[in-house]
Structure formats: C-alpha cells, structure tokens
C-alpha cells in the first residue's frame, strides 16, 4: 500500500483507518493493551462518562496523548443542547476540538435523533469544532450533515453494540458515492469480517468499541480488527474481480498442446 494512503479529515492525517473506543473493557490495563494491538491512532472517549477531574484516577490516565489523538464523543446526549454543551466542556478542559457527535433519539435502539444531530452539527461547526456526526445509514442525512460542515460522516452499520455487522451495504455504497468527506462506519461491527466488509465497500475508516472491548480476549480481537481493516482497505484499492455465475479456469487453456 502506498505510504500516502492515509485517512484525512480537517487537514489531519492518520495512517490507521481504525478508530477504537474506551468503554466496557474489563480493566484499564487490557484497554491499553487492546489499543496498542489495534494500531489505532484515534481513541474516542465518552465525555459524560469519564472523570475529567485529573487530580483523581481517570480513564484518561491510560491514554498516551502523545501517541493517540483523543476524539471526545457526546454519548448519552439526547438533545442538541446537551451535545453542544458536552462538546464545549470537552474543549474547555483541553481534551480536543474534535467531536464525535452523538445525539441519541431512542434508548433501546440508540438510533440517532437526526433532527437534533443536524442542529448540533451546525452550531458546533460555527463554534469551530471538527465535527464527526454519528448518523443512520441514510444518504440524504449524510449529505445534509456534509453540507452543514461535518468533517466526516459516520453512518452506523447496525445499532451500537449489537454486533450485527453491515446491515445495509447498499445504503453505505450510496453514501460513498455522494459524500465528499470521509465516510467512517461507526457502530455495529461484531467481528473482523464486518470491519473488512466496511473497508471493501470503500469506507474511509471504521470506528468500534464493543466489538473489541466485549470480546472474550479484547487484545486478540483488537489485533484481528487491525488486520481486517488493513486487509479490507487493500482489497478495495486492489480492485476486486467481478462476481460471475460460472467458472473461469484458473489456468488459461489457450495455446495448450492438443
């Protein structure tokens, strides 16, 4: 793969196309080891679930910010107002001006509230944030978010934490055709092949938490995900053969002795 094949958004460049989370790990040490094994360069942190008071022990103590770019997220926010406040808080305590914007619309499915999401995106873009909104696999919504100034769009593959994989690859394909900003699949990845499928479709990256953190061996799964994202990307760039109903011989028969 060319050295230049990097994930680029808002003028920042990342070699790794895998973004990992910080929730649900058995302990901080296994989280650290999983992050290391994943090869990720971006780590997302739920602002509302992390101890921002650095005089006490915090999840943040276990993320080396010289090595990883912190991506604060607004998980647990149900209105644009909450999400905006959370993002501003994260910036004020010095976490980042990046934000993975989540505005949840429903507790059971954790599907986004797109109306609130779009409003929050507009406000935060105006406030100078680099906004990466978590959205449905809806091409129209993706376009609206892009037009509102989102630095990337993050459609779900399936509900958060469900591990159901990429449920509607055709929608993701359409988003990829129309989006001019990076498309990062966020949520739904259950195992390595799910991540590879997202990348083979042409996605620019994959974000996952539960798929790694909830695995029996998070460190081994993190490594599997690193390989899957890389393999999927390489396969996409290599240009796959078309699918055919009938066989074509592996060794051409032309010029063979009769």
């Amino acid at each position: 793969m060319e050295k230049s094949d990097v994930l680029t958004f808002a003028g920042r460049r990342f070699r790794s196309r895998l973004i990992v989370g910080t929730g649900k790990y058995p302990d901080y040490l296994s989280m650290q080891r999983a992050h290391d094994a994943s090869g990720a360069e971006i780590v997302t942190v739920a602002v509302r679930r992390v101890n921002l008071d650095r005089t006490q022990e915090s999840l943040l103590d276990y993320i080396d910010t010289k090595r990883y770019t912190l991506l604060p997220n607004t998980a647990g926010c149900y209105t644009a107002e909450e999400a905006i406040k959370t993002a501003i808080l994260a910036r004020e305590v010095g976490l980042s001006d990046l934000v993975k914007l989540e505005v949840i619309g429903d507790q059971r499915t954790l599907f986004p509230d797109n109306e609130e999401l779009l409003n929050a995106t507009r406000v935060l873009v105006k406030e100078g944030f680099v906004v990466l909104p978590y959205t449905n696999d809806d091409p129209v919504m993706a376009k609206k978010l892009e037009d509102a100034g989102a630095a990337a769009v993050m459609p779900l593959g399936a509900p958060i934490g469900s591990g159901l994989g990429i449920r509607n690859p055709y929608n993701i394909k359409i988003i990829l055709e129309t989006a001019r900003v990076p498309v990062i699949v966020d949520a739904g990845v259950g195992t390595a092949s799910d991540a590879a499928i997202a990348m083979e479709l042409g996605c620019d990256g994959v974000l996952m938490n539960t798929g790694i953190a909830g695995a029996k061996d998070p460190v081994a799964m993190a490594e599997a995900m690193r390989h899957a994202v890389l393999a999927g990307r390489l396969a996409y760039l290599a240009g796959r053969i078309p699918k055919k109903l009938y066989a074509t011989a592996s060794s051409p028969l032309e010029g063979m002795i009769e």
Binding site: S4, D5, P169, L176, D204, L237
Partner: protein, 247 residues
C-alpha cells in the same frame, strides 16, 4: 443572480468591494453536478472573440468555465474576466480562473484552478476562504490524494491523446482514473482528448464529469459541441446508476 449591473469599476467603499463575494453562486453549482467544465483558449477560437464562444458554450448548457489564458498579463486577464463575468453569471454558471488567486479575490470570480506548479491547495484555501471553489489538475494517484487537502474537485488527465495536452506527457488512461476514484472522494473531472464519443466511458469509469478545451473552443458550433458532450455524460451516468455490483 445577475451582478453585471452591480459590478462596476468605480466602487468607492470597501463595503461595496466586498459585496459581490457574497453573491458567489458556488453553493448552487457544485462541481459534482457540472458534467462538463470548459476551459478557454482564445488562440483556438478561429478569430472569434472569447466572449462569443463562451456565451455559445453557456447556451449549450455548460455550468462552469475556466479562464485559462496563461500568456495574458494580470491586467489583461482582469479586463477579460470583467467582460466574461456578467456573461457567465447571467446564465447561472460559475467562472474559475487558472492559477491567479489574486485575480479571484479581486473580482467576484467563483474559484481558482490550480496546477501542480501552483501554490498548494491548502494555502490557496487559506487565502480564498471556504466559499470559493478550488480545483486542482492531477495526473497521478499521489497528486490526487494530496489535493484533497484544500481542493473541492480535481481534474484528472490527460486521459486520451490530445494536441493541447501533449506537452503534459502521454495519456494516463481510464485504468488510472479508476484507481484515483478508489482513493479520493472528491469529484473527478476527466480531461484530455475528451469528445462526445468518449465522454460516456469516462463517466462510467468513475468520473463525475469531463473537461475540455479544444472540443469547444475550436468547434464551429460550440453550443452544439457542448450539448453532444453533456448528452454523453448523461448517458454515462445512466449506465452507472443501473449498474448494481453484488456485494
């Protein structure tokens, strides 16, 4: 949307100077929807004034024109652009200028087209702000990847053989276009030897549109030439929309 009348040379206040910029039509005319991007070369127009050929091209349905007269001085370009702007804008099209960021900032020009020898797109973006369009001419995957940092679209070529692009090396072909398409999400316009008979293949290979100089500038009927190319672009898009790859 007509700023021909508002746009006079004798503007006095800074406020008036700033006004036309708010009227850039780039939002309503994004590069992915252009289909055809026509570059000027007044040496090819067989003696016809450039304004006449550009107007004919616009009548044929072109949405984007690039003023590309590399031999002209800043002043001569400035004057030519002043004459072209009302023509282009009255047809709800956009005008970009080759390389000259200064000129784009001076007039309500909608964008700048950069060569690989121009300022880097990221610097151009700093100067031009978010609303003006930036196009970058690219020939390789690497150049296209780099262009993402600042550009709104890329022009890729030369795809086929063309006298006007012969100096830029041998054609890169459609396979290179497919490769670049996999790497970048920016709109791609294919250039170099574009005609009504090959434009559809360019679109099928993954470009959003095509760009050409001589196909329009040297045409006896520029409006007809544009219509033919746009028709081919449309049929290419239709083929792409019908193509369902099993996932």
């Amino acid at each position: 949307m007509v700023y021909g009348s508002r746009f006079t040379v004798d503007r006095k206040s800074h406020r008036a100077l700033a006004r036309p910029i708010r009227e850039l039509s780039t939002v309503n005319c994004p590069p992915a929807s252009w289909g055809f991007y026509v570059l000027t070369d007044r040496s090819l127009t067989k003696g016809r004034p450039l304004e006449v050929v550009v107007d004919a091209a616009l009548q044929g349905g072109v949405n984007a024109i690039q003023l590309r007269e590399k031999d002209l001085s800043a002043r001569a370009l400035y004057e030519l652009a002043q004459r072209l702007l009302p023509i282009v804008h009255s047809r709800r099209a956009v005008l970009l200028v080759n390389d000259r960021i200064d000129l784009a900032l001076t007039l309500p020009i909608d964008g700048v087209h950069l060569a690989q020898t121009s300022l880097p797109p990221v610097e151009a973006r700093r100067l031009l702000g978010p609303r003006r369009l930036i196009g970058v001419s690219c020939h390789t995957v690497q150049e296209a990847i780099e262009a993402q940092n600042g550009a709104d679209f890329i022009v890729l070529g030369p795809l086929f053989f063309t006298p006007s692009k012969a100096a830029y090396g041998s054609p890169i072909g459609l396979e290179r276009l497919r490769e670049v398409r996999r790497h970048v999400r920016l709109p791609i316009l294919g250039i170099g030897g574009i005609t009504a008979s090959n434009a559809a293949q360019v679109i099928e290979a993954g470009a959003e549109g095509v760009a050409a100089i001589s196909a329009v500038m040297a045409a006896d009927d520029p409006a007809g030439a544009v219509r033919d190319v746009l028709h081919a672009v449309k049929s290419g898009l239709a083929v792409r929309a019908r193509r369902v790859e099993p996932l």
